[in-house]
Symmetry: C2
Subunit: 254 residues, 2 copies
């Protein structure tokens, strides 16, 4: 495989071959490899940069249940809906169960950001919104198969999350386990979700063209995640060009 | 009010005035008044006509969770989503709980229709699909307020359901309570849903133009329900012009 060139499906792949191709894409393009994440994990971000990361990522979290509802609005198979709906309650919470969004707010609050400011979405980088909104639209507008396949970055998230939690606890004295509770829940939720989505794609992508769609959806989604970190890096790391209206770290957090 | 003329909001209505206008629309246009329902309740439908009704109404049921997911895909307020999601589980079921769609299949099966045939959607009248699909698209494309308001026909459904259940048990010897279990569940679900949606519209329609949107959404939705019965009436009652490909009652069910 030439790095940078997309994989082309020329003949029908067996299920395990399709999975192997997906994992190749992850190895090349998943945002675990983004320079911003390397800085994050090496303890080289200032508190203000961590805040900017958590703030912008909040916008992504806030749109995930809408993305999942968009997928369900297109699924006329009740079995698919009954499986997929758990993703929404995982994020929104239900009854007395706290959801992922509330846990993400624990992180932003733990990092010193006001929850109302975070929820207002005012300080979010426009580029974050463009990337995330493109994801929601993609799930609404492309084929149902692609909508499902675009969730497959979750195949790669447990590794990243484990690395991140350990690194953040080690490198940032103001971060503790309580503040990182979001990630702990994802360690069990993400594999469950990813396994279902992978099996769905393996079952329903029954032509080379459909398998290409699955790969393309993952290419698209890795771009969505990567672009968010690009925007953070450009605004808050180097050259540090914060666009007008976006969150500005306080002087002593720089 | 002139029958046939739409209510125009010329100044901001108090919450109870808005509700009164909505109820006027229901009194004039809710499909409880449709001639097909009158025949249904008077015991004047053949078994084949009842089958056609239950079959076509299945398509409406099958799209309701997709409609509700479309609404949730547009709601960035987690509280709204946490309330609305119950509608989906009510219809799809969850865990060991049977949902409304499965209960509707009890009705179609109880009336003698094969469940696979019903699920295949093959015999559904095209006009049914057009009306129902228009509803899903409306919820996806119009304002969120209108999406919520379009559910307000549920304000009127408990009365219709109570009348229908009593009338069907009285007038059709092959119908029993078990077969009608769908309706019993709706008697508690619909008021809960309708009260929330009404309160939402009263709270969020804070200008005359927004209140007009709420009324217009209900006008639209009463049209969606009415048009489905028009299509049934034309195909299966008088003149009984069944379109090609649509369900044809067996001779002894006519």
């Amino acid at each position: 495989m030439n790095a940078g060139q997309r994989i082309r499906v020329s003949h029908l792949l067996r299920p395990e071959e399709l999975e192997a191709r997906l994992r190749e894409i992850g190895a090349e393009r998943y945002h675990a490899r983004h320079p911003f994440h390397l800085l994050l994990h090496e303890g080289r971000l200032t508190r203000g940069q961590l805040q900017a990361w958590a703030l912008n990522r909040y916008y992504y979290q806030s749109r995930i249940p809408m993305k999942d509802a968009a997928l369900m609005s297109r699924a006329n198979d009740p079995d698919l809906r009954r499986e997929w709906i758990r993703r929404i309650t995982d994020h929104d919470g239900s009854g007395r169960n706290t959801g992922g969004m509330e846990r993400w707010l624990k992180l932003t609050s733990g990092l010193g950001l006001d929850a109302d400011y975070v929820r207002s979405e005012e300080g979010i980088l426009p580029a974050t919104k463009f990337a995330v909104d493109a994801y929601v639209r993609y799930v609404r507008d492309q084929s149902l198969l692609q909508a499902v396949a675009s969730s497959l970055t979750e195949l790669f998230s447990p590794g990243l999350i484990q690395e991140r939690v350990a690194a953040m606890l080690r490198n940032y004295h103001y971060v503790d386990e309580k503040v990182l509770s979001y990630f702990e829940a994802r360690l069990t939720q993400a594999p469950q979700d990813a396994n279902f989505a992978l099996a769905y794609c393996q079952k329903h992508a029954t032509t080379p063209a459909a398998q290409q769609e699955v790969l393309d959806a993952l290419y698209f989604k890795t771009g969505v995640l990567w672009a968010q970190l690009d925007a953070l890096h450009f605004a808050y790391v180097t050259p540090g060009f914060i666009p007008p209206g976006a969150f500005v770290p306080q002087a002593d957090d720089r």
